[in-house]
């Protein structure tokens, strides 16, 4: 099953942030780079799905008082995730290959 647009963004954010990324920083990374404002619940929902598909791995840290006594769930990109991103990237590359947009953009 190919990745959806938003799944790709979440996976790329996790890859960019490296091991230890969690929901809020993933969300902020996406917003900072794309301007797209996703909800935290949606980010976690996608992360959950990606985890079930084996594309990311996760671990839970100890609860802290700063978080109101709650734990943090950290994510890291798995090998399968990296393969999926590469596949998505090559699909894009293949599609981009030879596309010349300038003639459409000029004169219009």
């Amino acid at each position: 099953m190919p990745l959806t647009d938003f799944e790709q963004l979440v996976l790329l954010a996790v890859a960019r942030l490296g091991p230890g990324a969690y929901g809020m920083v993933v969300r902020d990374e996406i917003r900072a780079r794309t301007g797209r404002s996703a909800s935290l619940a949606a980010v976690y929902s996608v992360l959950g799905k990606l985890e079930r598909r084996g594309l990311v791995a996760s671990w839970v840290s100890e609860p802290t008082s700063r978080r109101g006594g709650r734990a943090t769930k950290h994510f890291t990109l798995g090998r399968e995730g990296a393969l999926a991103l590469r596949a998505a990237q090559s699909v894009m590359h293949r599609m981009w290959d030879g596309v010349e947009l300038s003639s459409y953009l000029e004169g219009r």
């Binding site: 929901g23 809020m24 404002s37 619940a41 949606a42 700063r66 978080r67 709650r70 734990a71």
Partner: protein, 901 residues
């Protein structure tokens, strides 16, 4: 520094359990970071709320998706309830939408049901409060009332009275079957303490009464034995109402003195608000003051003076039959001792308290309840028919829904939801209606039926209405729903909009209409019987005239008028002054007013006749002033009435009634003499008056003697201080009340006036219970007739509209308009005839239970049993002719074209 709690709480509810902790944790961290960076609390909270809203939407979407997936897998049992609720909500929404599209249908249904359910709710409350609620005494089922009976054929009058004499009370206290007997006598007294004298109802009771009823004083205590003995301290018990109204609810009144009939009495207690003596349930003027009766157990002279009401309690384990067997053996012993003649068959017996208080009202209320349920059934039949007709017009819609995959169960469920919605709305409106009906019933005459004033539309009524509404919805909805769901989709869709003819659905509709007509016949026959009975009752000649007469009770105090001559003087002067008032035609006074106050009997001696053993000459005793007979319009049969010459020092005279003349002096009574005590003077009969109904409009007429007020003291030694003034006016008698009051006040401001009522009001009150029954049954009969008419009309209209095509074809082929109308009417009549037949047979059986509420009308009264079916037949013809005529005014060609389109 913590994020807004409400926002956290909201978000926690929205998030799925597997992400809740992390999302909330991230947000808490983010909030803290923002605050640490110097962001204000308000702004940080706003940011948090934006997160909450952003997160809420996807999580809701996800929840719904998950639930659907789980439901599709069909594995989660915990959601079955939730799902059925959702389905119910869906059905409700669908039904409401559908009903909103046919507002007229919904309105007619709701109104019909509201009438049926509303009347039902009101009468249910009546049944509950009057028949089902226990009387407010301890273990009321073991309470009994003692009564006496004499047989017909004895020389004394035939009697079946509930009054007992003092010696009889002492005799029957010996009964082993009874755990005590208490007695009381209700009599008005004057409260003369304070600024204004008032006349109130009081009861002279033995000390045992309260213990037997199992009721204690709310404050203070009830009577003690020595207070109930001759010469004991003078004490009194106040009702809650009197305590509040006259003594301001002050506890300090206990132990203080009040003045009753000019004598001081110490208040020893205040009774609870709901306490009433058994006798109070049959009057609109309940007792407000209790005084000890103070019987003298050594005085056994008054065996013939029946004036006490006696209440007792069955000993534990003793049945009513055993108690009556015991009382019979005591009665037999008394006869053997020579106190009563063997022919009199004198005996005492007990009746259960509730039977005594409710009497005929019990049968009447059950009858009314039965009737109101018939009305509800007719309403149900009507609505069921409406639903059936509507379902026919919806066949295509239902077929399409079936084609789109709705199962039969779904269709039935949805149709039933519609009917239950209608019946619940009908029930709600009906509850309001019932409340109004009840208020009206109580307002018209709270004393017409015992305990009617206590009836309330309470939580039980609401529960009852809810149950009845839902049951009603299912009853009238289930047949149309099952029928409509059983359709052939293919045929329905193929018929392309034409309403389907055929006989299948007509069978149901006609059966319902026939049932409706049958029920209506039963109700209308019942109603007609009570109306006829009431007519008979009110056409009884009471023996006096009723127009333009007003009566009022007066009581003269010993303090102001110590001796008999002064009392006589007061009444003579009062009557002279009243007669002189403009607008007054006649005026007089009597001891007890017919049909308003009970009259008792008094033994007499007849000159020249010896009583045989056990024989007892007696007659109801009445004291009257000159002018009383004329004011009341009592006809004179022979001799003369009382005149001003009948003074205390003149010849002692009496007037007797027709019945007494026939009983004791069949060959002429004028000039004959009798006396009312061993050493009292002979009274010469100077006149014979017409018979007057006294203790009830339909009871026996007893022998009765009248003695002039001024002469009564010569026979007895005391006078009658309590008299009822009777004033006949030229026009409206109530306009005279003010001036008569003025005259009394001028003569003595301490004399209170009470029980002001016209004789027409007295007459009306004497048949109040019968009027109550009659009015309600009449109303229900009328509703039933109306609903049945609508039913016949509805089904015939519908049949005609369906057969437009066929009828047009018949006309086109040469049938005359008359023959087509005849054909339709015949069809309507067939349905009605079946209903009428079934109804008449049912009524023959049902009216057997009406015997006790009917007067002088047989339960199989031929006029009623012929008249009502004829009436129903006429109504049915009329209801069929209208739609039949509509069918033939359409041109045959139009009918063929429209009907076949």
């Amino acid at each position: 520094m913590r994020p807004p709690r409400i926002a956290e709480w909201v978000l926690a509810r929205l998030l799925s359990p597997d992400t809740r902790e992390f999302v909330l944790g991230d947000l808490a961290d983010d909030y803290l970071t923002a605050r640490e960076r110097g962001v204000g609390a308000g702004r940080a909270a706003l940011i948090y709320w934006v997160h909450v809203i952003q997160s809420a939407l996807p999580s809701i979407r996800e929840r719904v998706r998950n639930r659907r997936e789980r439901a599709a897998r069909g594995i989660n049992r915990t959601h079955i309830w939730e799902e059925s609720m959702q389905r119910l909500l869906q059905d409700l929404r669908f039904a409401t939408r559908t009903l909103r599209r046919s507002p007229l249908f919904a309105l007619v249904t709701v109104v019909t049901l509201a009438v049926g359910i509303g009347a039902n709710a009101a009468i249910f409350s009546v049944v509950r409060a009057i028949l089902l609620a226990p009387f407010p005494y301890n273990d009321p089922t073991r309470l009994v009332i003692l009564a006496n009976a004499w047989d017909e054929g004895s020389t004394t009058r035939s009697n079946r009275g509930h009054s007992v004499s003092e010696p009889e009370l002492l005799d029957f206290r010996q009964s082993e079957a009874l755990d005590g007997l208490g007695a009381y006598n209700v009599d008005p007294v004057n409260l003369t303490d304070g600024a204004e004298a008032v006349r109130i109802t009081a009861a002279f009771t033995t000390a045992e009464v309260f213990g037997i009823l199992g009721v204690e004083a709310a404050h203070g205590r009830t009577f003690e034995a020595e207070e109930d003995a001759p010469g004991g301290p003078l004490v009194a018990l106040l009702s809650h109402g009197l305590w509040q109204s006259r003594y301001g609810g002050e506890r300090s009144v206990i132990g203080s003195d009040i003045e009753v009939d000019g004598r001081p009495r110490t208040v020893v207690g205040i009774m609870p608000p709901d306490f009433r003596l058994p006798a109070d349930y049959q009057t609109s003027e309940p007792v407000q003051l209790w005084l000890p009766l103070r019987l003298d157990p050594t005085d056994l002279s008054g065996r013939g003076s029946h004036y006490l009401e006696v209440v007792g309690r069955l000993r534990d384990g003793v049945t009513l039959e055993q108690a009556n067997a015991d009382l019979l053996s005591i009665s037999t012993a008394l006869i053997e001792q020579g106190f009563y003649s063997p022919e009199s068959n004198f005996h005492s017996y007990v009746v259960p308290l509730d039977e005594e208080i409710l009497g005929n009202a019990r049968a009447a209320v059950w009858l009314i309840y039965g009737a109101v349920n018939l009305v509800l059934l007719i309403a149900c039949a009507n609505v069921a028919n409406l639903m059936l007709a509507r379902a026919e017009t919806r066949r295509r819609e239902l077929a399409i829904r079936t084609a789109l995959g709705a199962g039969r169960g779904t269709l039935i469920r949805q149709l039933l939801t519609e009917s239950v919605i209608l019946s619940v709305i009908g029930g709600g409106v009906g509850l309001v209606l019932g409340w109004g009906v009840l208020r009206a019933l109580i307002a018209v005459d709270p004393a017409s039926v015992p305990r009617l004033a206590e009836v309330r539309l309470d939580g039980w009524a609401v529960l009852y209405v809810s149950t009845v509404s839902i049951a009603t919805g299912l009853i009238f909805g289930v047949v149309p729903a099952i029928r409509s769901s059983r359709l052939d989709m293919h045929d329905e869709l193929k018929e392309s909009g034409r309403t389907s003819g055929g006989v299948r659905h007509h069978r149901w509709q006609r059966s319902l209409v026939a049932a409706q007509v049958a029920l209506a016949v039963v109700l209308v026959i019942g109603a007609t019987l009570t109306v006829r009975s009431f007519g008979r009752l009110t056409s009884i000649d009471p023996g006096f005239t009723t127009r333009n007469i007003v009566s009022m009770r007066l009581s003269v105090q010993p303090a102001s008028y110590p001796d008999a001559a002064q009392v006589a003087g007061f009444y003579r002067q009062l009557l002279d002054r009243v007669r002189a008032l403009p607008g007054v035609e006649r005026a007089g006074a009597a001891r007890v007013l017919p049909l308003a106050q009970r009259i008792g009997d008094w033994s007499i001696h007849i000159e020249g006749r010896e009583e045989r053993p056990g024989e007892d000459f007696d007659g109801d005793w009445q004291i009257a002033t000159p002018g009383y007979f004329e004011a009341m319009g009592i006809p004179l049969r022979a001799g003369r009435y009382f005149e001003d010459i009948d003074r205390i020092d003149g010849v002692q005279v009496a007037v007797i009634n027709d019945a007494m003349a026939r009983l004791y002096w069949p060959d002429g009574a004028l000039g004959r003499r009798f006396s009312i005590g061993q050493n009292s003077p002979w009274l010469e009969i100077v006149g014979v008056a017409g018979d007057v109904r006294h203790n009830g409009i339909s009871g026996n007429i007893n022998a009765k003697w009248y003695i002039p007020h001024e002469q009564f003291a010569a026979s007895i030694g005391s006078t009658s201080r309590d008299m009822t003034l009777v004033v006949r006016a030229i026009a409206d008698p109530l306009q005279l009340v003010g001036t008569v009051r003025g005259v009394v006040r001028e003569m003595n401001s301490d004399i209170p006036i009470s029980s002001v009522q016209t004789i027409e009001q007295v007459m009306a009150a004497s048949v109040a219970q019968q009027r109550f029954t009659m009015s309600l049954l009449f109303a229900f009969g009328a509703i039933a007739l109306l609903l049945a008419t609508i039913g016949v009309y509805g089904v015939m209209s519908y049949t005609v509209s369906e057969r437009t095509h066929e009828l047009g074809l018949r006309r086109a082929l040469g049938a005359s308009a008359g023959s087509v109308v005849g054909m339709v009417v015949r069809q309507g009549m067939l349905v009605a005839a079946i209903g009428i037949g079934v109804g008449v047979f049912t009524a023959l059986w049902v009216t057997r239970f009406m015997g006790t509420v009917l007067y002088d009308v047989g339960v199989r009264d031929p006029i009623t049993f012929v008249g009502v079916p004829v009436l129903l037949a006429i109504v049915a013809v009329a209801a069929s002719v209208v739609p039949a005529r509509r069918a033939v005014v359409v041109e045959p060609i139009t009918a063929l074209r429209d009907g076949g389109a």
